[in-house]
């Protein structure tokens, strides 16, 4: 855990899971583990996706909405077992499948935010998600280079 002083805290509405800290991956577009993700590498593979070329592995994925259907429920468990799951999903709005899938896989997940994270958090920044306190906190700024896609 970082001891750096938090510089911005956003409240989330609903949350599940362990406290996690890691590099943010910020998307302006919704996310589906079935439509957008290469489920063998963790790369966002759908042509034209806002995060195309980025890898979700070990990241804290901040995304406005959930896309896709029921099949996503097994997909999170699958990527968790393949070692390519993100540390947390931070959704603006989500649907039950994402929540059921994340809980089943033991991945931290939150929904709703008190203010838009897009003005405060960039890809590469280090953030902390605390489901008990229902907070998303910017711990420290990442380097601009971190926002470039990398496999």
């Amino acid at each position: 855990m970082s001891t750096a002083r938090p510089i911005k805290t956003i409240r989330v509405k609903r949350a599940f899971g362990a406290v996690v800290e890691g590099e943010a991956l910020v998307s302006t577009e919704g996310f589906s583990p079935r439509y957008d993700l290469d489920r063998w590498s963790g790369l966002i593979s759908r042509p034209g996706h806002a995060l195309e070329g980025h890898n979700i592995k070990g990241r804290i994925l901040i995304t406005p909405s959930a896309k896709g259907g029921i099949a996503a429920g097994w997909a999170f468990y699958d990527i968790q077992h393949k070692g390519i799951a993100p540390k947390a999903f931070v959704f603006g709005v989500t649907n039950p499948v994402m929540v059921q899938g994340a809980v089943f896989a033991g991945i931290t997940i939150t929904e709703g935010w008190s203010m838009s994270p897009y003005e405060h958090i960039r890809t590469g920044d280090i953030v902390r998600v605390d489901p008990q306190k229902k907070t998303l906190t910017l711990i420290r700024r990442g380097s601009p280079a971190a926002s470039a896609p990398r496999g």
Binding site: F16, Y35, W74, V93, P96
Partner: protein, 405 residues
């Protein structure tokens, strides 16, 4: 259950349900009478299979009738489609494992047409978004989207946490859609779902359709619902004078004001059809799937295909349930369809077919023509360029290899 007196599988299932219920602020559980789950090897992978095998070995048994959704392999077509024997072996083990847990492996995504029709206010736990939106909207039953592991949990515990569409507050309409378009073909209903769903990607957005000019059929509502759920992640709609919780516009909104009023016209529909581009690639694949075809749809396809042949170099796929295919065989529809050169798969959905990406490359498929707006949406993940066309146009394309527009 939580103390484990009914076994570890039930204990873990309830723990999962409790955590999900807490997330959504559920105050209690409600009993469910029917469960429908997605569980096949393409979707769950080896880790999901191991999870199910462990549950079966722990002696897990469903305490409510639990059916399965469409899967990824029709074993009769394994070789013809050059699907993996290894994966087929896993799929067979998976089916055996589900049966040990008393799951009814019916392998259909049209359970609401062929297997079980819940009544007004009945709580169920269904997977496949198309089944959920149909249950909520057309039958007035109550279900959330239940992912595979969540649906199985409901089968094992006989209950679900009460949130989302189990509660009155989420079932009321949120916006109004005036239907001015003439809706003649199933594809038109899917196109409406695309127009309305794309602009409202929200599980809790509930459109209220009004102005409908005639009584829609079950297949038409199926296409509309599947499309709304696919493009909009929606779980419910109302249709004034048609669906049970919408005797009037006022009742559909339950005292709330619509957040928005939109109109869908013939011009909007034509814009949807005009929005697809063949990109100068061949039109050599036509698919009727997602959802599986009902017996009535099979009859229509047989009528359209009678005496015709699928064009050389083209392929026409139709997916349906085992029950519908058997009935279509009895009635002679299947022979007409197969004589024309179409492939009718049972118990599967086209978009989750095992090995589909490899099949696409091997067969030289780029465009996929369909009358299902849902299929046109979701199969993009497999890098198909999709084209939505009306049912008869799809058949004309299959038999000529040329677009009719």
């Amino acid at each position: 259950m939580l103390r484990g007196e009914q076994g570890r599988a039930v204990q873990e299932a309830l723990q999962l349900q409790l955590a999900v219920g807490r997330f959504f602020g559920a105050k209690r559980f409600v009993p469910v009478s029917n469960v429908h789950m997605m569980g096949d090897i393409e979707v769950m992978g080896d880790s999901g299979k191991s999870f199910l095998e462990r549950a079966a070995n722990l002696g897990a048994k469903c305490v409510r009738p639990t059916t399965t959704n469409a899967r990824c392999i029709d074993f009769a077509y394994l070789d013809r489609l050059q699907q993996s024997r290894v994966e087929a072996g896993k799929e067979k083990e998976l089916i055996a494992c589900l049966r040990r847990m008393d799951v009814i492996t019916a392998d259909t995504c049209i359970n609401y047409q062929t297997l079980y029709q819940p009544h007004l206010g009945e709580h169920v736990a269904w997977g496949d978004t198309g089944t959920v939106i149909y249950a909520n909207s057309v039958y007035g039953a109550r279900s959330n989207f239940e992912a595979g592991p969540a649906a199985l949990a409901a089968g094992l515990t006989g209950r679900v946490p009460e949130y989302g569409f189990h509660l009155d507050e989420h079932r009321r309409g949120t916006f109004q859609v005036n239907l001015k378009a003439d809706l003649h073909d199933l594809a038109d209903w899917g196109a409406v779902g695309k127009i309305v769903g794309s602009g409202h990607q929200d599980y809790y957005a509930v459109p209220v359709f009004c102005g409908i000019k005639r009584t829609p059929t079950a297949d038409e509502l199926k296409q509309l619902g599947a499309s709304l759920a696919s493009y909009g992640s929606m779980g419910m709609f109302h249709m004034v004078g048609v669906t049970p919780e919408a005797p009037t516009l006022k009742a559909a909104f339950g005292g709330r004001k619509p957040k928005e009023v939109m109109t869908v016209s013939n011009r909007d529909l034509e814009a949807v059809y005009a929005g697809y581009d063949t990109k100068n690639n061949p039109l050599n694949l036509v698919v009727f799937s997602g959802p599986q075809q009902s017996l009535f749809e099979m009859k229509t396809l047989a009528t359209l295909l009678k005496g015709r042949k699928v064009a050389k170099g083209s392929q026409l796929f139709i997916t349906t349930s085992n029950g519908v295919k058997s009935a279509a065989r009895e009635l002679g529809y299947l022979k007409t369809i197969e004589d024309a050169g179409a492939i009718v798969l049972e118990g599967v959905c086209f978009y989750i077919l095992q090995n589909l990406p490899q099949m696409r490359v091997r067969e030289g498929w780029s465009n996929l023509v369909t009358n299902s707006a849902k299929l046109a949406n979701i199969i993009g993940a497999h890098k198909f360029n999709t084209i939505l066309r009306r049912t008869a146009e799809c058949i004309d394309i299959a038999c000529s290899g040329k677009d009719v527009r």
